[in-house]
Symmetry: C2
Subunit: 427 residues, 2 copies
């Protein structure tokens, strides 16, 4: 059996699957002299998902929102990164099976996050564009631009219009921010690039099942965000559900929308790994965890963040899937594992809600801080930028992002409009 | 027949194939009130090829050395860009056939540049990595990093060593600069990322058929560059030719070099398009042009830059394939076409050699300015950086590149180490 080539150690081994917000913060806070930490990820970089939509809309380079994992943990003792895919958990033998071999663990932390959920609609899954990873965001950027190249060739008015129409499903923060960014491309950037196209024919539709945009936010923020979206020309369809898509027309329970591009930001489900017990250990596509993030009776198997459902009487479905929650759960689990080594009791997880925010466009954002301070307009937008800039990993990334934002702000432009699809490796 | 949807005009139409240095400068200088200009390119961006090697070695983002073509020509009247591939020239009908339709022309300019030439070695072509385009540079970056991920898994010492060995063929500026950049990754960056690997086992081989590195440069520069390469630990093999490659071992006329990665920077040949007359119009894989860049007897079909061989008694094989030459030929042809409209005679092309330069590493470069001033060390390096920075298209690109260079210089790091291979489009 192939191995992951991790040296033996007399320290307990913590295996972390996934270097998203949860896994990253757990691995950082663990006591590296008391535990051997093995991090597994399919990518060699941490992705700052909240800014993916700016990569998809030509505002930021992919390299400024992603950071190499090995660089984050350089010079950290007893830390090992392996570029690998987790395939199955054998809880009896305490072994994780990966595509490149088996790995024994003392503690296993599942921090695999979530993936796009198409609710069983096969055609939508085949034809819609997701936006959960850097390659997906780059693909979306290329597709948007290719559509306009194709539209400028087409003499069929109906085809041209479909190429210039975009339907975004899901008016959570991702869908709302993406719709706003596309609207800004429409008003400031694309008409200069494609002077022979009539941009009154470009439509951006935002489709949402709930009766408001940004469903998890307050009435104040939702109303304001809807105003912003409409002022930018986005057509918002509330109480509307997608039923079918054939690559040309999006069928909903209300109206058919012709569009070559359907962007799916509507639903996510946990990234589950084979193994464990379906009946006891799962709830709604996530791992059912207690307040210490432990899964069922497996004392030393944990789940964090999006993939974990920490249910209580107050929260029967668990916490919402938010970056902040994953960060705090990662930090709490790290502290608890460290407390074990100091013979101290574990502490239950308590969520400190620091607020939510979403930006629709230049000077147009809503922010709710600590559920008390409500901001909109320029102040909301400034706070949004500041929080995201601070949260980015790495000095270079912060600097490049800030610089791009300043240039984009003053030039009303988005310069990173390359259609790039690297070929597959020859090997 | 599909068309490229270019509006009719009473202006003469100049069709330019390729937005490299030649095509770009031609299109910029043409009188846009006297000619309708149609630019065709396979990519929607201009690539600054001299810095591709820094993309391949994680020093720069691809987005900072490429610039969207439509943005360069925004607001330019009578200019049309089409994302298309030229397939065949019909010189009798004055029509260019593309993958998306036919295009009539009054003047046709072939500025398609050059492509990697493997001199008929099929296995090398299949297994070696070229580095002429942005996607190729990104693929190379991913491959280099994947090799180290694989090496850290391997327990077979021989396999591990092959994964850590790199053979670069061709010690022109590209090969020399790439070898230097890899050597700097070896000494400053990779050992921090892969502490479990023994970097004394990593080798960088630079293989060159001629008897010196940087063959087109002076003895002074070649000697100095060789010294720099050796001081960085690059193993230089002069008078050495590659014979065969099987993915594991590079066979040369001298020694066999075990290496999983063969990077081919050895030869280029012109990107020829079907059509025209093989006997009269070609020379050594390039279009044979007169001093006005006209091909054979086709008065209004021209070739520029790498793809053109402007032969004279002094230069029986034509000029060398250099960015500068393409730029000057593009500018000269634009002036001549503009002179036609002013009833003035055309002027013959005269090459002003402003010098050549190559950088091997930090504070290590050679530069020959106007074939008189010879620079090395820090001054050569500073001039190299200045010239490349000035030549980059776009303010944002200059700024991001400068910033990356400053950060890389002081941190001894290369941060852009993401393994990214976007998936193919679903469509």
């Amino acid at each position: 059996m192939a191995s992951l080539n991790i040296p033996d150690s007399n320290l307990e081994r913590v295996v972390i699957i996934g270097c998203g917000f949860g896994g990253l913060n757990l691995a950082k806070k663990l006591d590296h002299n008391r535990y051997q930490v093995v991090m597994i990820d399919k990518h060699n970089y941490h992705t700052f998902q909240p800014l993916l939509y700016q990569v998809a809309t030509a505002g930021l380079e992919p390299d400024s929102i992603a950071y190499p994992i090995r660089n984050i943990f350089r010079k950290v003792p007893n830390f090992y990164f392996r570029l690998a895919e987790a395939q199955e958990i054998d809880s009896d033998r305490k072994v994780l099976k990966c595509n490149i071999g088996e790995l024994e663990f003392d503690h296993l932390v599942i921090a695999t996050g979530s993936n796009t959920n198409y609710f069983g609609m096969e055609n939508v899954e085949k034809l819609a564009m997701p936006m959960k990873t850097v390659p997906e965001a780059l693909n979306l950027r290329s597709l948007i631009l290719q559509n306009f190249e194709a539209a400028s060739l087409s003499q069929d008015l109906k085809e041209r219009e479909a190429l210039m129409n975009f339907v975004i499903v899901g008016a959570g923060p991702t869908g709302t921010e993406l719709a706003g960014a596309l609207a800004e491309l429409k008003s400031h950037v694309l008409p200069n690039d494609y002077p022979d196209l009539d941009f009154r024919r470009m439509s951006i539709h935002l489709v949402e099942m709930a009766d408001k945009v940004l469903p998890p936010m307050s009435e104040f923020s939702s109303t304001k965000a809807l105003q912003y979206l409409e002022s930018l020309g986005v057509q918002v369809w509330l109480n509307t559900a997608v039923k079918e898509y054939n690559g040309k027309v999006v069928k909903t329970n209300k109206k058919d929308l012709p569009a070559s591009t359907l962007i799916w930001a509507a639903g996510v489900s946990g990234n589950i790994i084979k193994g464990l017990k379906p009946d006891e250990d799962f709830k709604g596509g996530r791992y059912l965890v207690n307040e210490y993030n432990q899964i069922g009776e497996h004392q030393s198997i944990y789940a964090l963040g999006d993939v974990a459902a920490m249910c209580s009487e107050a929260k029967p479905k668990g916490h919402p899937m938010l970056a902040q929650l994953a960060i705090q759960q990662g930090q709490n689990l790290a502290k608890n594992l460290n407390r074990s080594k100091q013979d101290k009791d574990w502490r239950k997880f308590q969520y400190k809600d620091m607020g939510t925010m979403a930006t629709v466009g230049r000077n147009k954002a809503v922010a709710e801080l600590y559920n008390k301070i409500m901001l909109k307009g320029f102040p909301g937008w400034a706070v949004w930028m500041l929080v995201h800039l601070i949260s980015l990993v790495g000095f270079r990334n912060k600097l490049v992002t800030l610089m791009n934002w300043v240039i984009n702000y003053f030039s009303y432009d988005r310069k990173i409009r390359l259609i790039i699809r690297p070929w597959k490796s020859k090997l």
